[in-house]
């Protein structure tokens, strides 16, 4: 019975960390997808989109294997820190980044591609470097897409279950997120607790998304895309 606020704190912490990292990681990937002319680009796009169609358990399984003590990454991490990556918060963050990557990259890339190519050419003829063109022209004009991407990856991470269960397990305070908590309660027939926790998660997610989309709408009104 009652709400385990620790799981909420952990879930929000995970969602914030993951969406922040995805913002930094997603920008260059999305830039490359939007502007690269490499002929095999579609293969990379397909790989990034995989988590949308793949069962989270499949993704979680591979991430678990990759983080485990038999993989090069896992061995390197153990040598570095003395413990395995699996069943830690860091491991959970890594799994969640892969899981939510398309939800950040796709809106980013779509909004970058939507920026008038002539504006990008004009910036170059005015002597601006690619970085300056990105910071001063592409990114400001893509603001709605950037906000959408961050919001979606945040919400998606809040609600993840399969990957957390596979990679993180169910360790209170470290890897037990709200969705795992709800599952746990149902398993132990604590329907009232599950109901309450689910309701709080629902309200929190709705409030966050409503806030973000509200902001997004204002941004769009200030900078109407021609």
């Amino acid at each position: 019975m009652g709400i385990d606020w620790q799981t909420f704190r952990l879930t929000l912490q995970l969602a914030f960390t993951v969406s922040l990292i995805l913002l930094l990681l997603g920008l260059p990937i999305a830039y490359w997808i939007a502007f690269s002319r490499w002929r095999w680009k579609f293969l990379v796009e397909a790989v990034i989109a995989l988590p949308i169609v793949l069962p989270p358990t499949v993704l979680g399984f591979y991430v678990l294997v990759a983080l485990g003590p038999r993989s090069p990454l896992g061995r390197w991490w153990i040598a570095l820190t003395g413990h395995t990556l699996a069943f830690t918060f860091t491991g959970l963050v890594i799994g969640s980044i892969f899981y939510s990557l398309p939800f950040a990259v796709q809106p980013f890339a779509a909004s970058f591609s939507g920026v008038d190519k002539k504006l990008i050419s004009a910036s170059a003829t005015l002597g601006a470097s690619s970085l300056r063109t990105f910071l001063r022209v592409i990114a400001p004009l893509s603001a709605p897409g950037l906000i959408t991407g961050v919001a979606l990856s945040f919400a998606h991470t809040m609600g993840e279950f399969g990957v957390v269960l596979m990679v993180g397990g169910n360790i209170p305070g470290i890897t037990r997120t709200v969705s795992i908590d709800i599952y746990d309660r149902v398993q132990s027939s604590d329907y009232a607790g599950a109901n309450l926790t689910a309701l709080v998660l629902l309200v929190v997610c709705f409030a966050l998304l409503a806030l973000v989309y509200g902001l997004n709408r204002r941004v769009w009104v200030i900078h109407p895309l021609k």
């Binding site: 002539k118 050419s121 170059a124 003829t125 005015l126 002597g127 400001p140 109407p224």
Partner: protein, 388 residues
């Protein structure tokens, strides 16, 4: 004494007037385009000295690709582009300067003003390397030169068309380019606004003296601006010289259309009347097509040629006119009528379709509208004959 003074005065002047041979832009390059199914080769060689050089061609002739190659937005397959003593592109030396390093100003047809910035920020965009004070000084002086100082704090997306054109020009010129490319930036403006902007641009170039490549398809602009004219057709330069040289010898169809022959028809000589200095030509193919009386040229009955008629040389009458010197009277029906700037463009169907240009007053007093029956009146000497 007087000899010395003369020498001192003359020297700086002679340096500021470029000799015709001192071409600043040299371009010779090839670029194959695969965009539209079957390939298309842009293959050009030309030089552009300081001042206006008009680049004319139908849409799809490769004008924009040519400008893109000069600006470095597209890479030619082979060739060499040099600006003054700088090599911008050389396939043999494997040199291809980045767009941002070329100092080639480019004003696009769409202008491409940054919609999220003020006019001031747009114009100052290319001056990031300067201190804010210096940037502001240069920006404001250019805005004043183009008479848009009062717009400085307005957002780029809420100023008028003519103002946007001025902002786009100022934004490019403030960076002190060594070559200016203008891709029909003034196409949407009325004639007087256009003339004022051109005057300001000429004034600017009096001190900067750089080559300006100006893409257009308007005959008026060719004569108003052009010291030099380059005609581009299907990726190749088919004529170049002064507008007068090129346009007075309309031997190729693209040039013919540039010379104002909105109507060009294939024709067959039906009858020759050497005693009158005329002949009769049939257009629109099948027997019973439209017959036109034209000036006499060499070539017998049955020979194939081409007739060009300027849209402004055709008269329209709403009833069969009598007592006219004009020899060609053709009944037809108005298909469509539209206003372009201060000219009314009517398309008339008379087996073939003819374009006719009228004044607004003529349209109103004749109450011309689609579907109305009219007579086309064409003088013999308004029919220009060309080789086919």
């Amino acid at each position: 004494m007087s000899d010395i003074r003369t020498a001192v005065e003359v020297a700086p002047i002679s340096r500021s007037i470029p000799s015709p041979s001192a071409a600043l832009l040299h371009a010779k390059f090839q670029k194959r385009l695969q965009a539209r199914g079957n390939g298309f080769l842009l293959d050009v060689a030309f030089a552009a000295p300081p001042g206006f050089t008009i680049l004319f061609g139908a849409s799809g002739a490769g004008k924009t690709t040519l400008l893109d190659c000069l600006a470095g937005l597209t890479t030619p397959d082979s060739g060499r582009i040099s600006l003054a003593d700088r090599v911008l592109f050389d396939s043999f030396l494997a040199v291809s300067a980045a767009t941002a390093q070329r100092r080639v100003g480019y004003v696009f047809q769409s202008l491409a003003l940054f919609p999220h910035m003020t006019v001031e920020r747009n114009v100052g965009y290319g001056l990031a390397h300067l201190t804010p004070t210096e940037r502001n000084r240069r920006t404001m002086s250019l805005l004043e030169a183009f008479r848009i100082g009062d717009l400085a704090r307005r957002k780029a997306h809420d100023i008028s068309g003519g103002e946007s054109q001025r902002v786009a020009l100022a934004r490019t010129l403030v960076t002190d380019p060594e070559l200016l490319l203008l891709d029909e930036p003034l196409a949407a403006l009325d004639a007087s606004t256009k003339a004022k902007i051109i005057d300001d641009l000429r004034e600017w170039n009096r001190t900067h003296n750089i080559p300006i490549l100006y893409v257009t398809h308007s005959r008026e602009e060719v004569f108003a601006l052009g010291e030099r004219l380059i005609v581009l057709d299907a990726g190749h330069i088919i004529a170049q010289g002064t507008p007068h040289e090129v346009l007075s010898a309309p031997h190729i169809e693209t040039v013919a259309q540039l010379a104002g022959f909105e109507n060009v028809f294939d024709a067959v000589v039906e009858a020759v009347r050497p005693e009158r200095g005329t002949m009769t030509c049939r257009i629109a193919g099948e027997p019973g097509g439209v017959l036109l009386e034209t000036p006499l040229v060499r070539g017998g009955v049955g020979s194939a040629l081409r007739i060009g008629i300027r849209a402004g040389d055709i008269l329209l009458a709403t009833s069969p006119p009598t007592g006219l010197s004009a020899r060609n009277l053709i009944p037809g029906r108005i298909l469509s009528i539209e206003q372009r700037d201060v000219i009314v463009c009517a398309r008339v169907k008379c087996r073939v379709e003819m374009e006719v240009h009228l004044t607004l007053a003529a349209r109103d007093s004749l109450e011309l509208a689609p579907g109305k029956e009219v007579w086309l009146v064409i003088k013999t000497h308004s029919c220009h004959l060309m080789q086919r």
